[in-house]
Amino acid sequence: MEHVRAFFAAERGDDGKAVGTSLARSDALGHVTGQTQFYADRQFPGMLHLKMVRSPHDHARIRSIDTSEAEKLPGVVRVITHKDVPANVYTILRLIQVEPNDEPVLAEDKVRFKGEQIVAILAESEAIAREAVAKVKVDYEVLPAVFDVEEALEPGAPLVNEYHGNNYFTYEGHHCRRVRHGNVEKGFAEADHVIEERYQSSPIEHAPVETTGCIVVPEANGRLTCYSNTQALFFTLDNAGLILNVPFQKLRLIGGTVGGGFGGKVDVITEPVAMLAAMLTGRPVKYAYSREEEMQVSSPRAAERIYIKDGVMNDGRIVARQVRLYVDAGAYSRHSPYGTTKASAHMPGPYTIPNVSVDAHCVYTNRTPSSAMRGFGVTIGDFALEVQMDKLARLVGMDPIAFRIRNAYRDGDMKAHGELTKGAALVETMQAAAQLAGWPLSAEDTAASSMKAGG
């Protein structure tokens, strides 16, 4: 790929010796010979297979759990329920003070999404474990469920998550993350045109070719070694330590080579239960998602609903942008409170708009909890923003790139979240793309620069 060196040349130093070169990947030979070692490529004699009993209902109270038939099956070594979990409630982000803890490790009195884990079966083989899963009898009282983010916020909607008391994450007393910059109502009043549009995405799965999983080995000295494809070893270690209520030095995480992550291996769901199982059985335990589980039980990218209301002048300046954004967190927080804040920080896009208001809601519904995915908090926002920019450009009769150059942020511009713009390069990036695609730009737009104010 060509480097267009003309842009920002004055800001670049000399090329390095080791950086700036396409050094051969250190893992390529391992990959092409099949020698690269992923977590599951290890053998442990006596290893048990963990399969999970999962809720078939979107929302239900658990009246009783009967594991007696499952336990009788030859080859079943142990059955684990919520009673066995030392600290059965957690939030993945509590280590960075995101509270309240709102997710059970194993469901106790309620299930809040279809696929939620309830009982772990440990058996000598996968086949036996699966058979035993089918023999566990759970008595449910099915409850009304809510699936739409705006319906979930209406009074009288089924309450998804009692830990929050309502169907949204509370941001320091507010029902949403807020950004306020200038006065959007004034901006709309002054605008030549005002439009409001609605954008919607549905959940998207990471679908790495390697599914999420781990193998935990109890060591002779009482420690646990966990071979995992987690994207964050210490996240995993620390959360597991809190759930298991063991001294942290007892746990060791080994990993670092992952068959695709894309944000789908940061939830720390398999490791704590597998570690508990290893502790209780004294044997190595493997807990890996099947592809079906990876598809529907592992967290997806959140569906988002985004309303963007813009006030625009005939000369192309956007003077006000009001964004109402709903992140469908599913049944539990996971990383969504963080992702929703990130989504609000990304607004109004890389454009300088004098009046901006953002209300970003993190909403609970009865579906698989969503979580981080490549472009977390930004990907769907960019879809909405850039389709909106196209609509606005056509509304005022401007070329879509010219319209963006008119509004693009420049160094020194104030952003909606109160930071000054620096290192801007949107203008030049658009110029380079236009050049590549043969998209004609005016002389003025060709001369525009991120480093001087313009229009």
């Binding site: 920002f8 700036g20 070169t21 699936f147 598809m295 990304h346 056509r394 590549l436």
Partner: protein
């Protein structure tokens, strides 16, 4: 059968690192007795090539060739804390931690070399090929191999260093949202060309032409891997993927790759790209994170190209043939003026 072509554009930026900061990573660097440098991390390579780019960063920071660098990751017993690989933070946070550790190790290396050559450390430079020589006098040199041996066995010094990088955590104001999300942002602009079959609603992406501003491409081919792979994933998001095809109804959720649709090798568009570099003020050798951004600009570019082709807006993802066809049929039934 009619096919309509259209072109659309999207321009985006993307922050490097965990939103609001507070995501540290540490690195430890030590030289073996024979002058190889081991970088101890607890960081994860997801396939983006973290192990390779960290090799390059350490090699550059110490001044030795990459083959003298060994990356040791990941074991929480031996590697210091790393927040994790996500949020396009790897190269930036871990790279900076390695540079800090490498600088400390390099200082000891140069001090020992100065002692061995009987000059001042300020008069020396690394040649990037495995030797240290007096500036301007390349013949007065000593291999790093010898310096490491001397450090360990003669001088009793550890050629090692410690590093950490953290963007200070920012806390948003609850009323105004005033916050510092990130200190550095990359940019991308994609122009998509599509062809829409007006009888089936199927969209073929003919080409994606893009520019990416990445701060500094530390390994250009690996940046290209993110660009090509990311663009494919973006196209996949735009036109194919969902775990809930009837969202918010959960019916018919796919359970395998037959039902979870993604473009195959026969569906990949022609791709062209160029790279720009406006160095990051606080990135390792000016680099910015790029792993996530590359999936983002193609999505709205494709949506806008579809509108350009057939005058239909599909404001929900994925933009399936059914949605496009419904739009085309609705428009034929009651034509709306184009926007």
């Amino acid at each position: 059968m009619a096919k309509a072509r259209g072109r659309g554009v999207a321009a985006v930026n993307y922050p490097t690192g965990m939103n609001l900061g507070g995501d540290p990573s540490q690195a430890l660097v030590h030289a073996t007795t024979t002058g190889n440098f081991v970088v101890s991390l607890s960081s994860t390579d997801l396939g983006q090539g973290l192990k390779t780019v960290m090799t390059q960063i350490c090699a550059e920071a110490i001044g030795v060739p990459p083959e003298m660098v060994i990356i040791d990751t990941a074991d929480t017993d031996t590697g210091p804390h790393c927040m994790g690989t996500f949020a396009s933070r790897g190269t930036h946070r871990i790279g900076n931690a390695i540079i800090m550790a490498a600088k400390e190790a390099r200082k000891v290396l140069m001090d020992v070399a100065a002692d061995e050559l009987e000059v001042s450390a300020d008069d020396l430079e690394t040649d990037g090929k495995g030797a240290i020589h007096v500036k301007g006098v390349p013949s007065r040199s000593i291999p790093v191999f010898e310096v490491a041996l001397a450090a360990h066995f003669k001088h009793g010094k550890t050629v090692s260093g410690r590093g950490i990088f953290m963007q200070t955590r920012s806390f948003p104001d609850p009323e105004t949202g005033k916050m510092v999300p990130a200190t550095t942002y990359a940019h991308a602009c994609t122009i998509a060309e599509v062809e829409v079959d007006t009888e089936t609603g199927e969209v073929e992406v003919l080409s994606l032409k893009s520019a990416y501003e990445v701060g500094h491409a530390l390994n250009p081919k690996m940046v290209e891997q993110q660009i090509v792979g990311g663009a494919w994933m973006g196209m996949s998001h735009a036109l194919y993927e969902t775990t809930e095809p009837y969202y918010p109804d959960r019916a018919h959720g796919p359970l395998d790759f037959n039902e979870y649709l993604m473009p195959g090798p026969g569906d990949v568009p022609a791709m062209e790209g160029v790279i720009l570099e406006r160095p990051s003020q606080d990135g390792p050798f000016g680099a910015k994170g790029v792993g996530e951004m590359t999936a983002n600009s193609p999505i709205p570019a494709i949506a806008n190209a579809i509108f350009d082709a057939v005058g239909i807006r599909v404001d929900s993802l994925p933009i399936t043939p059914e949605k496009v066809l419904r739009g085309i049929l609705a428009q034929a039934a009651s034509p709306q003026p184009a926007e």
